[in-house]
Each structure stands twice: as C-alpha cells, then as structure tokens.
Symmetry: C2
Subunit: 445 residues, 2 copies
C-alpha cells in the first residue's frame, strides 16, 4: 500500500535516503549551511543571552559529551543543542529559507552535531541527516505558509522541531515507521511565538527545537508513537496553528526538488527581509552622496512581511535587527551594516535615532517578498529611488564559499576565536570525509 | 501605574500572594489535588510509557535530587517532573477543571515537588505555589476556551506550561516582573495536540509542561525576558492558537474567585465527559436488570465535546478511555468502570466489543457540558432513559477526602505499593506543616 499520510511519506523518504545518492551540490550546500551557522554561534559566545542559557542548562545536563560552541565546556546532547541553537540564531545573522523565512540550520544542526559527537558518528552521517532534517523542516514550513507566520508562529522554532526530529531519526538509524512517529511527536512539541521575537523568549523557542526534536527521535526509537496524521489531521499541527496544510508542498517531488538547497546566507546581521532595504540605501548613499542632514525623508516600500516585522520602535538590539527604520539609517548614515551596527551603541547613537525618524514604511503588495523600493527626498526637493529585488546573499545572488569563509572569520574574530578559525573552516569543508566530528568540535570548543 | 497586560497582572498576583491569606478550603483543595494526582502516578509506575520516558530521560539528567514516583531513582528536577507528569496523567484518571477540561495538577505539581525536594523548601511553599500555578493555568485556559481545544490544542499541555512557570516562579521567590517574564517565556513553549491524544505523543506534551515551565522560571530568574503581551498580543499565544483571549477571564476577581478550587477528581479512569455516561449506564443496569443480550440499542446524547472526543474506534487502552461506546458497555455489561476495565483484556473482550456495536452517539447541544442522556431500548421494545447532569466526582457531587484516600490506596495497590500508601497519605495531609517534602517523596520513591 502506498503511504498516504504526510508524516508517513516523510518518514519513508528519510529512512530510505542514501548518502551515495546525495548530489555534490547538495553536499556542498549542507557544508555551507553548517559553516555559516557555526560562525554565527562563535560570534556571540560571550553574549549574556548565551551565557545565561548555558548557566541554567549546566544544572540540567547528563554526561558532558557534546561541545558547547566557544564555551570550553561540554553538556549532554540535549542541553548542548539548546545552547548552541540559541547562539547560532541569536542575531538573526544565520541562514534563511526565503519562501518560509525559516532559519533552517540552527534548530537542526546543533542536535545532529551533539548526537554525532556523543556516538562517534561520521561527518557524512551528519551532513546527510542535516539535508533530510532541513528538507522536512522547510517542506512542512512551505505547507503552512504564509498563514502560519502571519498568525504569530515563529516558524523557525515550530518547523525546526520537525526538522530536528527527522534529522536525529536519520542519525539514529530509525526505521521509516519510527521516523514517522518521531515527526508526529515533534508536532506535539512545536512552539514559539512571533510576539516574543524582540525578547530573549525567542531564544527559548529556538533552543527547544533541537532539544525537543532530539527527544522526539529518542522516544520514537524506544517505541513511542504518534497519531498518523499529526501534521494534517483535523486536530493536528497544521489546523491547530491556523491553516489546512497544503500537502503537495510536503510530498511533491520528494528527492528531486530540494528545499534545503535553496538556503541563503546573510551578509548583514538583520532580518532577511531588511537586506533589500540596506542594499538600496547603500546604493543610494553612493549615488546621491548627501549628508544625512540634507535628507528630508525616506520612504521604504515592501510587501506585508516586511511591514509586519519592521514597524517597531527601536529600543534594543533585537528591535534594531528587525527595523526598517534602523536598516535604512545604517545604509544612509553609516554606509555599512555590520554586527556592531546593530548593538546598543548604534541603537542609542543620536545620529541614527534622529535619522530613523525620517523613515516611513509603506505597504506595496505588488513587490515580491524580500524586495524593497526606497525613495529618498532631499531637503532641496530632489528625489531618488532605488528598487532592490534580489539583495546580496539572496538565492539569486548567493554568497560564495570564499565570502562564507570570510564571514566565518569575521564572526570568529568578534567572539575572540580568530586563532581557531582556520582549523574550524578546514574541518568543516572536510566533514564529508571525516570519520567523526571530533576535529570540528574541538576547533569550536 | 496600574498593570495592564495579562501577564503583568498575573505576575503581580503571584509574587504578592501570601500563604497566610490562603483560606483553609483552598489549602485543603491543594492537598486533595496533589494526593489524587500522586496516586494516579503510583498506579502506572510500571506502565511501559512511563518506563520508556524514564529510560530516555535518565541519559539527560543532571544531579539526581528529585524523586521519580515509584521508580526508586532520582533525576534532576526537569527530568523528574517530565516523567512524573506523564505518569500522573497517563490514564486520564487524574483531576479536571471542567470549564476548560484541563487536568490542572499533572503539569504543575511535579515541577514544584521536584524543585522543593532539590532546594529543601517547605510543604506550605509547595501548596501555595501549586494554588497560584494552578490558578494561572486555569484562568488562561478559561480565556481561550472553548475555541482552543476545539481547534486541536491539548489544553492541559499548553496551559499547563503557564501554570508550571507561574508556580515555579513563586517557589523560586521571583519578583512580580520576573514572574511576568516567566509566564511570557512559557507562551513560547506551550504545545500539545488533541490529534495525538490517542498515542504516546500525548505524554510528551504533558511531560514538557512542567519541564519547560520550570525552564521558563529558571531563565526568568537569570534575567530572560518576554514580550509584555505574550499572551494577548496580536502575534501572541491566544491569537496564534486561534482565539482572541477573553482577558476578563484572566484578571477578573483575582484572589477572590479561585478557579483551582473548582478542581474535580475522577472515580473512573476515563475522560471526564464520559463519567455521566458511565453513571447513567450503571443506574440503568440496576434499574432494568437486563442481560446484555436483551438490549437492542443504546443511544448516548451529549454536547459537542462529548461527541468530539467520543466517536473513535476502540483499538487500545487510550481509545477506551475516550470512548462513549466503551463507557456505555462497561456500565451496562460489567456494571463497573475501574482501571482494569480500560485495559487491553477489556478492549478485546468479545462481550464488550459486541455491545459497543449497539451504542450510538447523538449530539444534543441543549445538554450542559459533562452531562449525558442515555436511552436504552430492549429487544422487547421497552425503552428506558436516564439523564445525568452531575456525575459522581463532579463539582456538585465531589469525592470526599475519604474517597480520595481510598482511590489513592487502590492506585497504590495496582502499582504494587500498598505498603507505602498509609505513609504517603499521612505525609500528604500533613504537608502544610512539613518543613520540607522529604517524608512525602520518600514514601513515593
């Protein structure tokens, strides 16, 4: 009998997938995803949000077998993945699956690396499990988008739980049926709210994704079961979170169309939808060459997602990273948008604060997601406009491997780990040939 | 300025509450709730679902300081509360807040007992934190009912996370603001699906409530914050899960109307809405005195909730405990509905299976929640009817303290712990005078 439930089809796909069948471009994308992600984690290793998560989790950890990035300590795999996922996603500087706005790697890779470190599994096993977990995550995300996020669900946290469960199931060698149950158990753990995004509560949702996804796989391994239609059933995940799932998004072209291969990496540590705003403002700054005082107003037009996330007051770093106004101010006033430009000194910088007041946001539903049209009016009445459809780092204009290496080194330097960067980068690119993840995790410790 | 957010008002209420102000009737209800709950946990200590949860969690536990009920082992407080909540709620034999159908104690008390055991806190502190956590849980449940459950949210798991967070916040002595944040962090962790109720995935949602609620409080203690309107905001918990919250249900008459005092305890190990069916059928059996073969058909009428939960095929124990058909069969064929009557031998008992086929369910929206009207037709054409509005164990016909003692002893006997029952019961009733929870937890170990 051919499988008919979404989880059943995914479970079979994950369990039957073979590393030998993964195309080189997929293997490369898995490494790019993890390299980019780990760099982000290193960069914020000393952030209070990460140190607090570690301080709490230390008291609730079993045998210390899994590296906590940049902390010089190990925890059990669940606790380590909680802290690492928080770090890797903290600044929204990690990767994005643009169709869903999921950050695919943070909820999935930390669980896999931690389990592999504990059990001495190979780098190829990790990369393979990552591709499958990420694929499950993004496909379920596609199936419930865009209503899921619009209703308030932090899709990285919710769908990330499924991705971690599926990836861990693969790494544990679970059967198709066990993987199906692991995915169904994940459905009862998927949580995380957009309302909480400007606060540390966001971290908890993201950290729980690998922690609870791993738990789902471990329980399924021991015989725990879930409802067959935990995703699409009348009282299942999709309906409960607000939408009937479009199941073709989950099951269509499985194994031929790879959603995780559409992953993108950020040149700026801001929400992905703000990148077009930054690019447009950087270009306008170069073109116009006007001092901030000479600029009378700036209008940023974009689709509903840009507007939904971007219209907040800027009181802290988190606000800054999801602010249309701050993004525009950075592009036009500072002419750059690096990590430091979203930290508190920048938030309270009078020049930026004053300029943010000149920026207005405007809905334009005709623009595609991720695009922005910025209109600049000078005090003398002249007007300039720049439309950016495909910002730097988008799927159409991807960062190169060399740019990802450079971003990793930058992040490592910010975190104070410059001496480790080369070893970590080398270990990462060699992961598909590594018998275990020891070399990589040692470089990250 | 007077507080205006739901979480803010709850945070202040919890932080400022004093044990001295808790009326004797409230203190007694806290003890009744916990006694009833712990007995249910003892009864299923050897159930594979509980043993599996323990086997998995053992590998992810810090210092063993918190008793796992009936297992002779300790785990860290998060891991212990995960296993204990699963056990105490496993058979749906625990308590019910009827307006929301929340099982209030399982998500909250295990977290409090575990934390108190670790930190040497008093029995009164546990009881006080339980009242406050249970109150927060049930009030948030009221605010999102009935849409929340109807849409697919397992309200015990979701609202239980809030209750555990608030209770742990009290036990940890958090400030009003920290408690507000703990409640908000809980919002990003609240999960659990009705679709999964007939499976072990249900357990994971219930176990996560105290595990994650405790985490919320511990993170808030260390400075983690949440959005002010994490419950009622436009992208917060209530909206995301499907309903605008009725905030008056959260904040009205705080400290004078106690929702947790409306807690009820079950004489039968089935879903609470099936108790009226069982009572009516037991009464009809006594009145009519007909052999099962003489009964042509049985029609059970009730409100939408009874029908929603009760129309499943009966293939296993979980199905049986939420089955109109099995409940009616037990009442009329066996004349009893004890723990054994919902286990596999009863599920596959040919006499019960055949009788279930004679039972039909019928929607009657004029009946109040928890009521059932059972119409019995004999083969000879005679018809009998029994309407039960307030079943045994309901708020209007509560189980007495002595009946709760007897239920605890029954459960202890089922689990093989008869020798411990008296000591546990004595420790429980004396909890408000106990300097710590050692005596109670030792009796439960």
């Amino acid at each position: 009998m051919s499988p008919s439930y979404a989880g059943e089809i995914l479970g079979r796909f994950v369990a039957e997938s073979r590393w030998e069948d993964m195309a080189p471009v997929l293997r490369q994308e898995a490494k790019r995803s993890i390299l980019n992600n780990l760099g982000c984690g290193l960069g914020v290793a000393k952030d209070p949000a990460v140190l607090t998560a570690l301080a709490v989790m230390r008291n609730f950890s079993g045998a210390p077998v899994a590296t906590v990035i940049g902390q010089g300590v190990k925890l059990d795999p669940m606790a380590a993945s909680f802290v690492n996922a928080i770090a890797c996603n903290l600044l929204d500087y990690d990767d994005t699956h643009l169709q869903t706005v999921i950050h695919p790697t943070a909820p999935v890779a930390p669980a896999l690396l931690a389990l592999a470190e504990q059990r001495g599994l190979s780098g190829a096993a990790v990369l393979h499990a990552f591709l499958l977990g990420g694929e499950v995550e993004c496909r379920i995300g596609n199936a419930v988008s865009p209503g899921h996020y619009a209703r308030g669900w932090h899709i990285t946290s919710t769908c990330g739980t499924f991705g971690a469960a599926a990836g861990c199931a693969k790494l544990l060698g679970l059967s198709a049926e066990q993987t199906w149950h692991a995915i169904g158990i994940a459905a009862s753990q998927a949580a995380g709210l957009v309302e909480n995004l400007p606060t540390a509560a966001k971290n908890v949702g993201v950290g729980n994704a690998p922690r609870n996804g791993m738990l789902a796989a471990l329980l399924a391994e021991q015989g725990y079961k879930a409802a067959p239609a935990a995703i699409e059933g009348p009282l299942g995940f999709a309906t409960a979170t607000g939408d009937a799932a479009d199941l073709t998004q989950i099951t269509g072209e499985l194994g031929t169309r790879w959603e995780i291969a559409k992953n993108t990496y950020k040149p700026y540590p801001a929400g992905i939808v703000f990148h077009a705003v930054i690019d447009a403002c950087l270009a306008l700054r170069e073109e116009v060459g006007a001092a901030p005082e000479a600029i009378a107003s700036v209008t940023v037009a974009g689709d509903a997602l840009l507007l939904a996330r971007g219209d907040r007051a800027v009181n802290n770093e988190r606000d800054a990273r999801v602010s249309i106004h701050h993004s525009a101010a950075l592009g036009l006033v500072r002419g750059r948008a690096g990590v430091a430009d979203f930290e508190m000194p920048a938030v309270v910088d009078p020049a930026l604060a004053a300029f943010r007041g000149k920026v207005a946001a405007q809905l334009d539903d005709t623009l595609p997601r991720g695009a922005a049209r910025v209109t600049l009016r000078l005090a003398d009445g002249r007007e300039f406009q720049r439309l950016v459809i495909t910002p730097r780092g988008s799927y159409e204009r991807p960062m190169s491997d060399a740019e990802l290496d450079a971003k990793f080194r930058d992040n490592a330097a910010i975190g104070g780990f410059s001496d480790r960067a080369d070893a970590a980068i080398a270990a990462l690119w060699g992961l598909d040939d590594a018998a275990d993840v020891t070399k990589l995790m040692t470089a990250l410790a």
